[in-house]
C-alpha cells in the first residue's frame, strides 16, 4: 500500500518539480522529458505492483485497485509512452514549455484515482483534475485551431462537469447517508430520482468518452486539435474514463431491480454510438476526422460489452462476465495504444489523399499504421480482434440482435479502415513522417501484435 502511494506521489512530485527544473536550467533541457519518461515508467511499475498485489485498498477504501484497474493502468502507461514518444522533444520548443512535460505526469496521477475511485466525491476530484489537464493540454500548442478546439472543449466540458455534479449529489441522496464507502447503487430502485442520477452520470461520462448523443464536441476537437495532444486525450485519458464508466456500471447493476433496464439503456446507446461513428466515418477524406469518428464507434463496441456486464452482474458467477471485463480491458488497450500513435500522424498531413505514398516514403511507418488500422478493424491476430471477440461474445448472453448489429457495424467499419489502408499504401507522394512518430507507430504496432498473440491469456489474467 505504501509502495503504491509512494509511486503515485513520486509521479505527482515529478509534475511539480518539472517547471522548477525548467526555470533553473532551460526549457529545452533534456532532463525535463527524461523526468516525464520516469513518471510514465513509475506509473507502469504501479500498474504491475497493483496487478501482483490486487486488490489494494487506499484511503480507508475510498480508492480500490484490482486486477482490472491494474490492466487499465498498464494500458494508460503504454498509451502515455507512445504519445510521449510521438511528440518527442517538440513540445519543449513551444511557448508553453515545459507545461506538456509537467502536465502529463499530473494527468497520470489523476487517472490513478479516476480508475480506482470507490466514492463519488473522489470521482469528482479526479475528474476535475484530469479534465482541467485535458483542456490545458489541448490549448498548449500555438496553432489557432487547436486553441479554438480547446476552448470548445472547455465550454462543453463545463456542462458535462455540471452533470457529474448532479450525479455526485444524487449518489449521496440515494444512499441517504454520508461518509459510507463505495457507490450507493446496490439498493438502486427504478424510480424517477435514480433515473435522473443515472442520466446525469451517462451524460457526463458520455461527454468524456464520446457516447452518442453526448459526443458533439468530439469530431470538432479531435479533428482540429493538435495531433500530439489529441493522442493524449484520446489515449491514456480516455482509457481512465472508460475504467470509471465500467466501475460505475458494475456498481449500478448490482441491484437486480434495475440491471435489466440499465442493460437496455446501454444497448440502445451502444447501437447509436457504433452506428453513428461508423456511418459518419465512411466517406470522409480527412484522416484525423476518420480517426475521430472511429473513436466514437470504438466506444460503441465497449458499450456492447458493458451491456453484457450490466445484464450479468447480478449473477456474478457467470464466466461471460469475466469475458466481458477482459474484452473491455483489451479493447481499451487496443484503442488507446492505436489512437495515441495514429493521431500524431496528422501532424504531417491529415488528408488521406496527401497521405498516399506513405509506403514508398517510409515502409516501416506504413506497415505499422496498417497493423494499427487492422487492429481497430478487429482483424486477427492483432489485439483489437480479441477485444471485439470477447465483447461481442459476452453480449450473446443479452441479445443476439445487439451482437448482430455490432458485427454489421464492424463490417461497415471495414469500408473506411480498408480504404484508409489502401490510401496509405498506394503509390503517391513521398510522405516521410518524423522519426519520433515513426518510432511511436512501430512501438504501438509491436505492442498490438505481441499482446494480440497472447490475447487469450487476458481472461485467465483477470480471474
Amino acid at each position: 500500500m505504501i509502495m503504491v502511494e509512494s509511486l503515485v506521489y513520486t509521479i505527482l512530485a515529478i509534475s511539480i518539480v518539472t517547471p522548477i527544473i525548467a526555470m533553473l536550467t532551460s526549457r529545452t533541457s533534456k532532463i525535463i522529458p527524461g523526468l516525464t519518461w520516469l513518471a510514465v515508467l513509475l506509473y507502469a511499475i504501479t500498474g504491475l505492483y497493483v496487478y501482483t498485489n490486487a486488490p489494494i485498498q487506499l484511503y480507508g477504501g475510498l480508492v480500490v485497485q484490482d486486477k482490472f484497474t491494474a490492466m487499465l493502468i498498464l494500458a494508460i502507461s503504454l498509451a502515455a509512452a507512445i504519445a510521449l514518444l510521438a511528440a518527442g522533444v517538440e513540445p519543449a520548443y513551444w511557448e508553453s514549455s515545459p507545461a506538456y512535460y509537467s502536465l502529463l505526469p499530473l494527468a497520470l496521477f489523476g487517472t490513478f484515482y479516476l480508475v480506482g475511485a470507490q466514492d463519488a466525491l473522489v470521482v469528482l476530484s479526479a475528474w476535475l483534475l484530469v479534465s482541467v489537464i485535458s483542456y490545458v493540454l489541448l490549448a498548449l500548442p500555438t496553432e489557432k485551431e487547436s486553441r479554438a478546439a480547446a476552448v470548445q472543449y472547455i465550454f462543453i466540458g463545463a456542462l458535462a462537469t455540471l452533470f457529474l455534479g448532479i450525479w455526485v449529489a444524487g449518489d449521496y441522496v440515494v444512499s441517504s447517508e454520508l461518509g459510507r464507502l463505495g457507490f450507493s447503487y446496490t439498493s438502486l430502485t427504478p424510480d424517477h430520482f435514480s433515473g435522473l442520477v443515472l442520466m446525469a452520470f451517462l451524460a457526463a461520462i458520455g461527454f468524456k468518452t464520446g457516447i452518442v448523443p453526448f459526443h458533439w464536441w468530439l469530431p470538432s476537437v479531435y479533428s482540429k486539435g493538435n495531433g500530439y495532444m489529441v493522442g493524449v486525450v484520446t489515449g491514456p485519458i480516455k482509457i481512465a474514463f472508460l475504467g470509471l464508466l465500467t466501475k460505475v456500471i458494475i456498481a449500478a447493476s448490482a441491484s437486480q431491480l434495475v440491471s435489466g433496464q440499465i442493460a437496455l439503456i446501454l444497448a440502445a446507446l451502444a447501437v447509436l454510438t457504433m452506428t453513428y461513428g461508423n456511418v459518419a466515418a465512411l466517406t470522409t477524406r480527412d484522416f484525423q476526422k476518420l480517426l475521430a469518428y472511429s473513436s466514437i464507434a470504438q466506444v460503441g463496441y465497449i458499450l456492447v460489452g458493458l451491456t453484457a456486464i450490466a445484464y450479468l452482474t447480478p449473477a456474478r458467477s457467470n464466466p461471460l462476465l469475466q469475458l466481458a471485463l477482459a474484452g473491455i480491458a483489451i479493447q481499451a488497450t487496443a484503442y488507446g495504444v492505436a489512437k495515441s500513435a495514429l493521431f500524431p500522424v496528422n501532424i504531417e498531413e491529415s488528408s488521406l489523399d496527401k497521405l498516399r505514398g506513405l509506403l514508398s516514403g517510409n515502409k516501416i511507418a506504413a506497415a505499422s499504421t496498417a497493423i494499427l488500422l487492422l487492429s481497430l478493424l478487429g482483424m486477427p491476430p492483432f489485439l483489437g480482434f480479441w477485444g471485439k471477440l470477447y465483447l461481442f461474445y459476452s453480449a450473446t448472453s443479452y441479445s443476439l440482435i445487439l451482437v448482430a448489429t455490432a458485427l454489421i457495424n464492424s463490417a461497415i467499419s471495414s469500408a473506411y479502415y480498408v480504404r484508409a489502408l489502401r490510401d496509405l499504401v498506394s503509390p503517391g507522394g513521398e510522405v516521410k513522417p518524423r522519426p519520433s512518430i515513426t518510432i511511436a507507430l512501430v512501438l504501438a504496432a509491436t505492442v498490438i501484435l505481441i499482446l494480440g498473440l497472447i490475447g487469450p491469456l487476458y481472461v485467465a489474467a483477470l480471474s
Binding site: A160, G195, F207, W216, Q261
Partner: protein, 685 residues
C-alpha cells in the same frame, strides 16, 4: 454360403492392379521427363497390361483349384473408418479380372497402330493404362472405399478419353451437325461429351456414396466380405426402419449410371466421340460393365440377407423383392428402348453404342432376376448370376471385336456414318468373316456365345416370373438381330447410299486386324464349347462371395428358346427382304411419308429423351440462372448503388450535424440529456 478363403499378403496377387498403376505412373514420369517417342508409350502400356493379364490368369488358376484368395495387406488402412486394404479374388472377381485384362491387352495392341501419329498419343496411353489399373482395382477391391477409388478412376479416365480430341474438330463429333430435336442440338463435340459423361455418372455416384455411408453407419465396416456375412442383420435393421428399399435403390444408382441404364443412358451414346479403341474398351467391354459387376457382386449379398430373413422378417424380403424387380425392369426397359434406337441409326459407332446399352440391360435383367429366385434357394441364385456373368463375358468379347472393326471401317470410309459405306466384303474378307462372327453372336444365333448367354438371361427372367421383363427381352432379341443384320448388310454387302463419298477399302494392318479377328474367333469358340464355357462360369460362381453353389449353365431347346430364335431369324429375314428383293428406299420413304418420318425421327432422336433432359436440366437451369441473374442485378444495384449512396448521404448528413459552434453543441447536449432521461423513465416502466 461363402466359400473358404485363402489369406495371403500383398504379393503376388495385388500386383494384378498395382502393376498397371505403376505402368501408368512410369508413363507419366516419362512424359514429364520429355520423352516423346510414341512407341515407348504404346508398348509400355501393352507390356504392363500383359503382366496384369498373366497375373490374372495365374490367379484364376489358383482360385479355380483352391478357392478364393484374400490378399489382405493392411487391416487398418484408415483406422477411424475401419477400412482394410486388400484384394479379394473370388470366382466373380477373377473372371472379371481375366476379361478386363485380356481384352485390354488386345485393344492396347490395336491402339498402338490406331493411334499412330496422333498428337495426344502419350496422354492416351497414360489414361488407357490408368483406366485398366482402376478397372482391375474396382473388380478386385475387398472394400467399398477401395472399390470406389477404382470406380472413380475409371470415370476420370473415361472423361479424359472421351474428350481426347478436345479441340472438337467436326470429324470427331457424334450426331449430324446442325440437327435439332425439340429445339435442342443433337450433335455433340468431344469436350461436351466428356463433361456429359462425367455429369451423368456423378449423379449416380452420389447415390453410391450415400449408400456406402448409410451402410457404414449401421455396420461400422466397408469390408465387402464382412458386409456379406452380416447382410441379414443390417438388411433386417433397415427393413424395420422402412428404408431398405430406398437405400438399396440409392446404393445402386451408381451402377445404373455407370452401366448407362435408363434414365442415365444418354451419356454412353455421346461418349462415342472418343477414339474407337476407347469405345471398344471402356464404353463396350469393361467400364460400362462396372455397374453389372456391382450387381453381380451385391445381388448375392442382398439375396443372402433376404434368404436368411425369409421366415422372420417379411418386410425385408418384400423390400428385396421389390428392389430386384425394379432393377430387372429398368434393365428390360433399357434393353428394349436402346434396341429401337439402334434400328434407325446411320452412325456406325452409335449403332454399337445403342446396342451396348441394350445388352447391358439384358445383364441387369438376368442378374436382378437371380435375386428373385428366393424359393429356389442358392441354386436359383447361382444360375441367374451365372447368366448375367456369361452375357457380360460374351458381350465383352463380341462387342470389343465389333468396335475394333468399326474403328477400321470409319478410318477407311473417312466417315462415321454408314451411308458412304458398302460392298466392303469384297475388299476385306477377313474383316467380313470377323464381323459376321461377332455380329451373329450379338444377334443371338447359335452356335455363337451370344446365343447361349442371352438365352440364359431370358431363362432367368422366365424363372423369376418377370413376364414384362421377359417379353421385352424377347422383343429386344428380335430387334438386336434386325439392327445388327441391317448394319452388316449395308456396310459389307449392299451398294452404299452415298456413292460419291465411297472410298475403296482394304484390310487393316496386322496389329489392328488380328486383335478383332481373335476376338471374333473367341466368340465362336466360346459358343462351340459352351458346355465347357458354361461349366467354367458355373464353377466361378460357385467360388463367389455369398453364392458358394456352382451354377449349371445349360441351354436346352425349349419352346421359349425356339420362339426367341425364330423371332431373331424372322427379323433377319424381314430386314433382308426389305433391303434386297424389295429394295425399299428408306431415305425417300422418310422424306415422303409422314408416319415414317415421325417414327424415324422419334427413334433417331432417341425418343426425345435427350431433348427433354436438356429442356428440363440445361434450359431449365439456364432459365433459373437468368432469373437469378435478374435477382443478382438487383442485389448488385442494391450493394453497389443503393447502399453506397445511402451511406454517403448518411455519412455526409451526420457530419453536417457538426457545425463547429459551441452554443449549438451545448444545446444538443442538453436536449439529448433530457431525451435520455425520458428514455430511462420509459425503461424503468
Amino acid at each position: 454360403m461363402t466359400p473358404e478363403v485363402t489369406v495371403t499378403g500383398f504379393l503376388p496377387w495385388s500386383l494384378i492392379w498395382f502393376i498397371s498403376y505403376l505402368g501408368a505412373f512410369i508413363l507419366a514420369l516419362l512424359y514429364l521427363a520429355g520423352v516423346k517417342n510414341e512407341k515407348v508409350y504404346g508398348w509400355g502400356s501393352v507390356t504392363t497390361i500383359a503382366l496384369s493379364a498373366l497375373l490374372a490368369t495365374a490367379a484364376a488358376k489358383e482360385v479355380f483349384s483352391k478357392g478364393p484368395i484374400y490378399s489382405l495387406y493392411a487391416k487398418n488402412w484408415v483406422p477411424w473408418l475401419n477400412v482394410t486394404l486388400g484384394t479379394y479374388l473370388d470366382g466373380l472377381g477373377v473372371v472379371m479380372a481375366l476379361i478386363v485384362s485380356w481384352l485390354s491387352l488386345l485393344i492396347a495392341i490395336y491402339s498402338v497402330k490406331y493411334m499412330e501419329g496422333d498428337w495426344g498419343v502419350q496422354r492416351y496411353f497414360f489414361f488407357f493404362t490408368f483406366f485398366v489399373a482402376s478397372m482391375l482395382l474396382l473388380v478386385t477391391a475387398d472394400n467399398l472405399i477401395l472399390m470406389f477409388i477404382g470406380w472413380e478412376g475409371t470415370g476420370l479416365a473415361s472423361y479424359a478419353l472421351i474428350g481426347h480430341w478436345y479441340t472438337d474438330e467436326e470429324e470427331y463429333w457424334v450426331g449430324v451437325p446442325g440437327r435439332k430435336a425439340l429445339g435442342q442440338p443433337m450433335y455433340f463435340e468431344p469436350s461436351h461429351s466428356g463433361v456429359r459423361a462425367l455429369m451423368f455418372t456423378r449423379i449416380g455416384d452420389i447415390g453410391l456414396l450415400i449408400g456406402m455411408a448409410v451402410i457404414f453407419l449401421i455396420t461400422g465396416t466397408f469390408n465387402i466380405p464382412a458386409l456379406a456375412s452380416s447382410a441379414s442383420t443390417w438388411m433386417g435393421y433397415l427393413a424395420t426402419k422402412g428404408i431398405l428399399l430406398p437405400l438399396l435403390l440409392i446404393f445402386s444408382l451408381g451402377a445404373l449410371a455407370k452401366s448407362a441404364q435408363f434414365p442415365f443412358h444418354e451419356w454412353l451414346v455421346t461418349a462415342m466421340t472418343g477414339p474407337t479403341p476407347v469405345s471398344a474398351l471402356i464404353h463396350a467391354a469393361t467400364m460400362v460393365k462396372a455397374g453389372v459387376y456391382f450387381m453381380l457382386r451385391f445381388v448375392p449379398i442382398f439375396f443372402a440377407g433376404a434368404y436368411a430373413l425369409m421366415h422372420t422378417n417379411p418386410a425385408a424380403v418384400e423390400a428385396a423383392r421389390q428392389y430386384f424387380t425394379i432393377m430387372a425392369g429398368l434393365g428390360a426397359v433399357t434393353a428394349f428402348m436402346m434396341g429401337t434406337m439402334a434400328l434407325v441409326s446411320n452412325e456406325l459407332k452409335l449403332i454399337l453404342a445403342f446396342s451396348t446399352a441394350s445388352q447391358l440391360g439384358y445383364m441387369f435383367l438376368g442378374t436382378a432376376a437371380a435375386g428373385l429366385l428366393l424359393e429356389e434357394g442358392y441354386e436359383g441364385l447361382a444360375t441367374g448370376v451365372a447368366a448375367g456373368l456369361s452375357h457380360l463375358m460374351s458381350h465383352a468379347v463380341f462387342k470389343a471385336a465389333l468396335f475394333l472393326i468399326a474403328g477400321w471401317l470409319i478410318h477407311v470410309a473417312h466417315s462415321r456414318f454408314i451411308d458412304p459405306m458398302g460392298k466392303y466384303a469384297k475388299y476385306m474378307k477377313i474383316t467380313a468373316v470377323s464381323i459376321w462372327l461377332a455380329g451373329l453372336s450379338l444377334m443371338g444365333i447359335p452356335p455363337l456365345s451370344g446365343f447361349f448367354s442371352k438365352e440364359s438371361v431370358l431363362h432367368a427372367a422366365e424363372e423369376a416370373h418377370l413376364s414384362m421383363g421377359y417379353s421385352l427381352g424377347v422383343i429386344t432379341a428380335a430387334l438386336t438381330a434386325a439392327y445388327t443384320f441391317r448394319m452388316i448388310l449395308r456396310v459389307f454387302h449392299l451398294e452404299p447410299y452415298d456413292k460419291e463419298k465411297w472410298h475403296e477399302p482394304h484390310e487393316a494392318p496386322g496389329l489392328m486386324l488380328w486383335p478383332y479377328t481373335i476376338l471374333a474367333l473367341v466368340s465362336l469358340i466360346l459358343g462351340l464349347y459352351w458346355t465347357g464355357t458354361g461349366k467354367a462360369i458355373g464353377e466361378a460362381i460357385g467360388e463367389t462371395l455369398s453364392v458358394g453353389t456352382p451354377a449349371h449353365l445349360v441351354v436346352r431347346l425349349t419352346t421359349g428358346v425356339a420362339v426367341v430364335l425364330t423371332l431373331a431369324l424372322a427379323s433377319i429375314g424381314i430386314v433382308w427382304a426389305l433391303y434386297v428383293p424389295m429394295k425399299v428406299d428408306f431415305p425417300r420413304l422418310i422424306r415422303e411419308k409422314t408416319w415414317a418420318r415421325v417414327l424415324h425421327d422419334f427413334l433417331y432422336d432417341r425418343w426425345y429423351i435427350n431433348s427433354i433432359y436438356y429442356w428440363i436440366f440445361v434450359s431449365g437451369f439456364a432459365g433459373v440462372a437468368y432469373l437469378l441473374s435478374i435477382v443478382d442485378f438487383g442485389i448488385d444495384a442494391f450493394y453497389h448503388y443503393a447502399i453506397p449512396v445511402l451511406f454517403a448521404l448518411g455519412a455526409a448528413g451526420l457530419r453536417a450535424l457538426h457545425r463547429g459552434r459551441s452554443n449549438y453543441y451545448m444545446m444538443l447536449y442538453i436536449y439529448f440529456a433530457a431525451t435520455l432521461l425520458l428514455f430511462i423513465y420509459l425503461a424503468w416502466g
